[in-house]
C-alpha cells in the first residue's frame, strides 16, 4: 500500500558506514525515483559499492535510515533485501558453472526434497526473459556462456526472485561495446516496465548513455544528484574528481625508431593447459605504443607472461633489440632490459606487506650501488626510493610505509616508477589504469606517453577501449588467442574494434592489400 503513496523506490538518509581507519560513507543521502535508471558515479574508493552493499544487505550501516517504497526498513541480510525486492548483480558473478541457466536461477529457491515442476518453471522463465529481451538459452551450462550472457542470467535470476530494484555494479566492465549496447536495451526495457535500476560506474559516457539521473559520490560523501539530460560529461567529471580533467592528450608528433620488441608466431598454453595463444606476431618500435585490445580472457595474460618469461613458450620466438629471449627465465628477461607492469599489481606487481622502498628496489637490488657484494646497502635503498617517490609524485608518509597502505593510484605509481627506472626502453604494460580513478589514470597515461616520447617501445595490453584509443599508435585486436587484425589509430573506429573484439576477423585490410598489390 506504501507503494502507491510514494514515488521514491529508495530513500537513504544520513547513511554512514565505517571500516577500520576509513569512513566509506559519510552521512549519505540518496533518493531514487521508481522506474528510473539511476547512475551512481564516483572514483574508485568513493564509496559507491559500499553504499549499494548496504542496500543489498551485505553490510549494515552504522548510522542512518533507509526507506524502500516509502517504508522505513532494516536490512540485516541479503535475504531481507531480496524480500524487499532489492537485488544486486555483483562484479563477480555468483553462478555455478557446472549447472544450467535454469538450474542456476532456481537454485536455493525451493526447499530440498520438493519436486520442482521444471516445465512450469522454465515456461515462466522463458516468458520473463522474452519480456525483458534477456536472450539466453535456459538449458545451456554456465561455462558455455559468454560473460555478457552470464550477466543476463544474473539479471534473470533477480527478476525471477521478484526484484523490483536492481543494482548493477560496474556492469559494462567485462562487456564488448556490442554487449554493452544490448545491456542498455535491457535496462531501458526493465525501467519502462516499472523496475528501478541503479548502476555503479566510473565511466562518464555510460552515465550519459544509460541513465535518467546521476548521483556523484566523492570520498564517501554525496556531492550532488543531477538530471542526466541537463548535465555534461565535463561537469560530471569535475564533480567526481573535484577539479578540471583533461580528456584529450596532446597530439603526437614523434619519430619511430628501430624495432625493439619483436614477437613471432608465439604460442602458449593457459593455466588449464589449453591453447591460449595460437601463434601471434607483432613488432614494437622505439617511440611507439602498440596496443593489444580485447575482452579479458582472450590470451592477453598469457601473451604478457610469455614475453616476460613467466610462462612457458610452446612455439615461436621473442627478441629484444635483436637478442633472442625466447624461453629465458624472468631474471634473464629483466637483464635484457624488458620491464613489465603486470595487470595484477597487488598479486604480482607489489609485495603489499613490505615497505615501499623494498618494493621499489625489486628490479635493481642485485646491482651496485644498491648492493655491495652479497649485501644490500639499505641507506642507498632509502635514497634511491626517495628519489623515485619524488620523481613520480608518489604520495606516501614515508618510504618505509607498507605498500598495502597506499591508494590504488599510488600503488600503481610505485610499480610504474620501478619499471620505468629499471627499463632500458622496452615496456610491457597490462591494464595499467585498471581500477584507478580519473586523476590517477590521467597520471599513469601521461607517464606512458612521456616514456614513448623519450623513445621507449611500449606494448600496451588493455581491455579498456578508451585507453587504447587514447594511447596507442597501432592497435592489434586479440580474440581467442589470435589477432583479428591490425589497425592504425588514425583509421580505427570503435565500432570496428568492437566487432573484432567479438571475433570478427578484419577482412578489409587484407582486401586492401590484395587490391593494392593487384594494382601494382
Amino acid at each position: 500500500m506504501g507503494e502507491s503513496e510514494n514515488s521514491y523506490a529508495i530513500q537513504m538518509q544520513g547513511v554512514t558506514k565505517r571500516f577500520p581507519g576509513v569512513v566509506a560513507n559519510q552521512a549519505v543521502d540518496l533518493s531514487v525515483e521508481r522506474g528510473h535508471v539511476h547512475a551512481l558515479l564516483g572514483e574508485n574508493g568513493a564509496g559507491k559499492s559500499t553504499l549499494m552493499n548496504v542496500l543489498a544487505g551485505l553490510y549494515q550501516q552504522d548510522e542512518g535510515q533507509i526507506c524502500i517504497f516509502g517504508e522505513p526498513v532494516n536490512i540485516q541480510s541479503p535475504k531481507d533485501a531480496i524480500e524487499l525486492g532489492i537485488g544486486m548483480v555483483h562484479q563477480h558473478f555468483m553462478l555455478v558453472e557446472s549447472l544450467t541457466v535454469a538450474e542456476n536461477v532456481i537454485l536455493g529457491l525451493y526447499p530440498t526434497g520438493l519436486v520442482i515442476n521444471e516445465r512450469k518453471v522454465k515456461q515462466e522463465l522463458r516468458d520473463l526473459a522474452d519480456s525483458y529481451h534477456l536472450n539466453v538459452d535456459l538449458d545451456a551450462y554456465i561455462w558455455q556462456l559468454s560473460v555478457g550472457e552470464q550477466q543476463r542470467v544474473e539479471i534473470l535470476k533477480l527478476l525471477y526472485r521478484g526484484a523490483k530494484i536492481l543494482i548493477l555494479d560496474e556492469p559494462t566492465a567485462v562487456l564488448t561495446p556490442q554487449e554493452s549496447d544490448q545491456l542498455i536495451d535491457i535496462l531501458h526495457k526493465m525501467a519502462s516496465e516499472g523496475k528501478t535500476i541503479i548502476f555503479i560506474t566510473h565511466k562518464l559516457h555510460e552515465v550519459m548513455d544509460f541513465s535518467d539521473r546521476v548521483s556523484v559520490l566523492r570520498d564517501g560523501e554525496m556531492i550532488d544528484t543531477r538530471v542526466t539530460s541537463q548535465t555534461t560529461k565535463n561537469e560530471l567529471a569535475k564533480l567526481m574528481v573535484g577539479r578540471e580533467v583533461l580528456f584529450n592528450f596532446q597530439e603526437r608528433a614523434h619519430e619511430r625508431g628501430d624495432v625493439v620488441l619483436k614477437v613471432e608466431n608465439l604460442k602458449a598454453l593457459s593455466d588449464k593447459g589449453l591453447p591460449a595463444l595460437k601463434g601471434v606476431s607483432l613488432e614494437v618500435r622505439a617511440g611507439e605504443i602498440v596496443a593489444v585490445a580485447g575482452v579479458a580472457g582472450n590470451g592477453q595474460r598469457e601473451l604478457a607472461e610469455a614475453i616476460t618469461g613467466l610462462r612457458r613458450v610452446q612455439d615461436g620466438r621473442i627478441w629484444i633489440r635483436g637478442v633472442d629471449i625466447t624461453k629465458k627465465n624472468p631474471w634473464q628477461v629483466i637483464k635484457a632490459g624488458l620491464s613489465f607492469i603486470p595487470g595484477d599489481r597487488i598479486g604480482r606487481g607489489l609485495v603489499p606487506n613490505l615497505p615501499i622502498s623494498d618494493n621499489l628496489v625489486m628490479k635493481v637490488y642485485r646491482k651496485p650501488p644498491i648492493s655491495n657484494g652479497p649485501f644490500i646497502d639499505y641507506q642507498r635503498v632509502e635514497g634511491f626510493s626517495e628519489r623515485l617517490v619524488d620523481a613520480f609524485n608518489i604520495i606516501t608518509p614515508s618510504v618505509k610505509t607498507n605498500a598495502r597502505l597506499l591508494s590504488g593510484g599510488n600503488q600503481q605509481k610505485v610499480v610504474l616508477a620501478r619499471e620505468i627506472d629499471a627499463s632500458s626502453g622496452a615496456l610491457v604494460a597490462v591494464n595499467p589504469s585498471r581500477g584507478l580513478d580519473i586523476g590517477a589514470t590521467e597520471a599513469v597515461r601521461k607517464t606512458l606517453l612521456e616514456q614513448r616520447d623519450q623513445g621507449a617501445a611500449i606494448l600496451l595490453i588493455s581491455g579498456e577501449l578508451e585507453e587504447v584509443m587514447q594511447l596507442a599508435d597501432r592497435i592489434f585486436v586479440i580474440y581467442e588467442g589470435e589477432f583479428m587484425g591490425e589497425l592504425d589509430r588514425e583509421e580505427a573506429a570503435v565500432e570496428e574494434i568492437g566487432l573484432m573484439m567479438a571475433g570478427e576477423k578484419r577482412e578489409r585490410r587484407t582486401d586492401e592489400i590484395s587490391q593494392s598489390s593487384g594494382g601494382q
Binding site: 550501516q61 540485516q76 631474471w331 603486470p342 604480482r348 609485495v351 648492493s371 649485501f375 597502505l405
Partner: protein, 363 residues
Amino acid sequence: MNIVLERRLEKARWAVVIVPIASFLLALVFGAVLLLAFGINPLQAYRVMVSGSLGDQYALTETLVKAIPLILTGLAVAIAFRMLFWNIGAEGQLAMGGIGASYVALFLSDSLPDPLTIPVMILMGMLAGALWALIPALLKAYLEVNEILTTLMMNYIAILLVEYLYLGPWRDPEGYGFPGSAPFPQEALLPRLWGRVHLGIIFAVLAAFIIWLIMNRSQWGYEIRLIGENPRAAKYAGIDAKRNMVLVMLLSGALSGLAGMAEVSGIARRLYQGLTVGYGFTAIIVAWMANLNPLGVVFVGAFMGALTVGGDQLQVAMGIPAAVSLVLQGAILFFVLGGWVFINYRIRILRSGKQKQAGELNE
C-alpha cells in the same frame, strides 16, 4: 551489543611491549587458580620456579643448557617459516645431526688429528641435518609434496634410527647393557665454559647474529622476504623460488644438525636416548613467540629454557606431578601466543543497526 575484532592498519608499537607482558601476567593468574585447585600455594610454586631456573649458578647454567638447542632449532624453524616453508622436522634434523657427529666421534676420531675432531663433527652434524632437510625440500620444490607431512614423518624415522643405533650396532659393549653408545673420546667433547654450559652457547648466539645479518642485510634475505610475503611477486622479480626453498632448507637443517651435534658432544658425550626430547617441536613455539625474528629467538629460547628447568624444579622441590608443571607451561604459551592477536587487531564494541535506530527514535 556486538563485539568485533578489527584489524589495525599498522602494528601498534605500544602493544608490542605491553601485550606480551600482560599476557604473561594473565597466564600466571590462570596458573595460580590451577595450582590453588590442586591445593598448592601458587606464590610458593612460582618462587620455586624462578629460583629453580634463575636463582643460583646451577639453575642459571641449566637454563642456558636447555636454551642452546632451543635457540638453534628455533632459528632453523624461523628461517624456513619466513619463506612459508612449514618445516616441523627440526627434531628429526637434530637427531640426524647427532648421528652424524656421533659417527665421527665413535669411528673417525682415531684417524683424525685431535684438533680436527670437533670441526669435522660440526661439519658432519650440519651436513647430516641439511641432507635430512633436503629430502622434503626437493619433494616440495619439484613435486609439490606437502612439506608439513614429509618433515613431520621424517622426524620419526630419524628418532627411531637413533634408537636403533644406540640399542643395536653402536651400543657400548662395555655399557653393562645400558642403552647408549660408548662415551666419546676426550678430543670429541665440546669444551664446557660454565657448569654444563658448553661452547654450543657461542654457536647459538653467533648463529642468531648471522641469520639476522642474512635476513635483514643480504640480497638472499631480501629474496626470502619477498618469497615469503608474495611468491608471485618474487617470481616476477626474477627470483627462483624453488632454488631458494632448497637453499633455505639446507641452512635450516644444518642449524638443527648443529643443535644435535652440540647435544651429543657437549652434554651427553655419547649418542643416547635423551637426544630427542622434543627441542625441535618446542622450537616451533620459540620461533612464533619470537615473531620469526632471529634475535628474538635468542631471548625466547632462553625464556623457554628457564620455563623447562623451573617446571622440573617444581616437581623435584614440591612434589607436584609432572603434568601440572606442563599444564602451567602450556598456559603461559597459550596466553602469550594468544595475546599476539591484540598487536594486529583491536576490539571494537558495536551497537547493532537495530538498536541504533531505536535509540534515535527515542531521542
